[in-house]
């Protein structure tokens, strides 16, 4: 009977997770093509250092250590999860123990110690958000769902750890009744502390609550992820693999513009000749909506865990301007989900008259950016908010000719006299004789 219930849980859990993943993938592919498959050795290296090794987290040591506790516990606990799955399918109890023996005790003890550290980390994280009220975790863009999402994830982790210890503690107490012990580092103490004095039958119930509870939490967690900022635990890996490997100062050159400029500069090219096929829709310069961004921008948005390191290092944000790089990423994700919902309900050609620029991100925000790359540098999972900001600017300037008036003047100067100020090119060498 329990095998059947387990199998149903297992299959539904993974079925919906796969469905969600495919959905997310198709959302990301709403973005435009960009080649990020070159130089795979460098890409693997970046992923191993930045995602697996969490290299960039350690510029802020305290949260990095706390995060490492949760991360290590999460990774190592997967070993125990494999056993839980095996036990579920075979209706056995601690399937690996006879094979591993002493090593088994060591392994579970290790998991238990990490789980305690994770618990401490989780409580510290909850305190940082809700008691200490760290500025970057309490900004206005986090009001409502993002704040609840963050707390919910942390509470789920506490529940998860509680189930693990209920399972192991009760199991240990049962063995103690028989005059034996697993000798697990934490639960051998919990057995006396919490589960001493219960009858064997009651302990079995506790053990089962722990086992099933743990399992249900795992599947809940798995299926909650694609709706949560916490999705970074999965997407950090592909996102760092597909990182921008160029120097941060290098902005993309728009190929469509290059073609136009070459035509203008080469009189032998007939500028009225059409090169494209009939019916080709000329693509927009820059980005107005998420479909004008690249798939990497959209992957970035799904990967963002809203930690706010970008925003707390942004010079514009620190001096009270509206711009927040984190909000740029959150808006991109929200708009992507909105478009997908629309497509799901109304079909492929759905439009709602809204756009990322205007309805989510205002012009004031994007003009406050100094392109200093602090946000890009800070992101622990190599998200690039700057490339979205630049693409939005490109749309405004090249498609709508909308920009702060001083910039219109600056651009006119460059076009007329080859300098952003009104000076004559013939005066360029004046410094030599002054």
């Amino acid at each position: 009977m329990s095998i059947i219930i387990f199998s149903i849980l297992f299959i539904t859990g993974f079925y919906f997770f796969s469905k969600n993943i495919l959905q997310v993938r198709s959302n990301i592919l709403l973005g435009k093509e960009i080649n990020r498959t070159d130089n795979s050795s460098e890409r693997w290296k970046t992923m191993i250092l930045v995602a697996l090794g969490q290299k960039k987290m350690f510029t802020r040591p305290i949260p990095a250590l706390l995060h490492l506790c949760l991360y290590a516990a999460f990774i190592i606990t997967q070993i125990e999860l494999v056993e839980i799955f095996t036990d579920g399918f075979t209706n056995s109890h601690r399937f690996f123990k006879p094979f591993l023996d002493g090593f088994y005790t060591f392994m579970i003890s290790f998991i238990e110690i990490l789980s305690i550290l994770a618990l401490i980390g989780t409580i510290a994280f909850l305190s940082r958000r809700n008691l200490l009220k760290l500025p970057r975790l309490n900004m206005k863009e986090l009001a409502g769902w993002p704040k609840n999402d963050a707390n919910l994830i942390l509470l789920m982790e506490i529940v998860l750890v509680t189930f693990i210890f209920t399972m192991n503690g009760a199991d240990e107490a049962i063995l103690n009744l028989k005059g034996s012990s697993y000798d697990f580092a934490v639960s051998s103490h919990l057995a006396n502390l919490l589960f001493g004095g219960f009858e064997e039958h009651t302990l079995h119930v506790f053990e089962q609550i722990g086992w099933w509870g743990h399992l249900i939490m795992v599947f809940t967690f798995l299926n909650y992820l694609p709706y949560s900022k916490h999705f970074h635990i999965v997407l950090a890996f592909p996102n760092t693999y597909y990182s921008n490997l160029e120097k941060k100062g290098k902005f993309t050159n728009l190929a469509s513009v290059t073609e136009e400029v070459k035509k203008m500069m080469d009189p032998s090219i007939d500028s009225f000749a059409t090169t494209g096929n009939e019916g080709d829709v000329p693509s927009r310069f820059g980005a107005k909506d998420i479909t004008d961004l690249t798939w990497k921008n959209l992957l970035d948005a799904y990967t963002c865990t809203e930690c706010g390191r970008c925003t707390s290092s942004c010079p514009a944000n620190q001096t009270g301007k509206l711009l927040s790089p984190r909000k740029i990423m959150m808006d991109t994700r929200d708009r992507m989900v909105e478009i997908r919902e629309g497509i799901r309900k109304n079909g492929k050609d759905f439009t709602d008259g809204k756009s990322l620029l205007g309805d989510y991100i205002t012009e004031e925000e994007i003009w406050a950016c100094t392109s200093c790359n602090a946000c890009v540098q800070e992101c622990p999972v190599n998200i690039d908010p700057l490339s979205i900001i630049v693409d939005l600017r490109r749309y405004l300037v090249m498609e709508e000719s909308k920009m702060p008036t001083e910039l219109t003047g600056m651009l006119t100067n460059i076009e007329n006299n080859g300098a952003p100020w009104q000076f004559s090119p013939s005066d360029r060498g004046n410094w030599i004789n002054e």
């Binding site: 009270g320 300098a419 000076f423 005066d427 060498g429 030599i432």
Partner: protein
Amino acid sequence: MSTEFKVSTMAEMMANGETPDILFWVGCSGSFDDRAKKITKAVAKILHHCNVKFAVLGAEESCTGDPAKRAGNEFTFQMQAMMNIQVLDAYEVKKIVTACPHCFNTLKNEYPELGGNYEVIHHTQLIQDLINQGKLGLEGSQTYKGKKITFHDPCYLGRANDVYEAPRALIEKLDAELIEMKRCKTTGLCCGAGGAQMFKEAEKGNKEINIERTEDALETNATIIATGCPFCNTMMTDGVKNFNKEHDIQVLDVAELIANAADL
């Protein structure tokens, strides 16, 4: 004060059948801004002193297009880039040095895809090379000995291109005390001028970015704020004035520090 030596343009060199080893890309600030011209002269003096055969483009130089690109006008940027590439290629330029990190970044990273391939270095990198080659000696210079100097990382030199050490190595050659600001190198705070902000008023906020950055510099108690970018220089100079500290604190480019120390 004019330079006491002749600075040749590429056109003049070509007319004399000569080829310079390096092109000095002066940039718009370095050409037109009175404060930045002093930095330009300091670089020229160092190059001359070290017998580097260099030339400038003079009237044939034009904006790299950096502010247009950062402002989102890819057309203006690419027009500028293509025209500059035509000029640079006509003179068969191989190597470029510039004292502006914005020009440096654009020439180095964004021109190659448009057909302009040159070896581009920042002036602090070139000066470091010259010192390492023994062409420029600062031994025994007392000018900045023991002085407290802090270095403000230009975003387009530091984070954008990972050049952090060259300017610092030069300050250390001065026998000065280099004091880092709390935010430096990868975490350095922008001066507020990048991304075409130099040419517009800031958006509404509660503070100017250059004031925030100047506070970082003041905290170090340094008497000299060194920079490696003409825009940063303007922003930090304004910041220092804002605190009425212009008589106590100098804002100088690393090239000026070196030229002064070498008594050029």
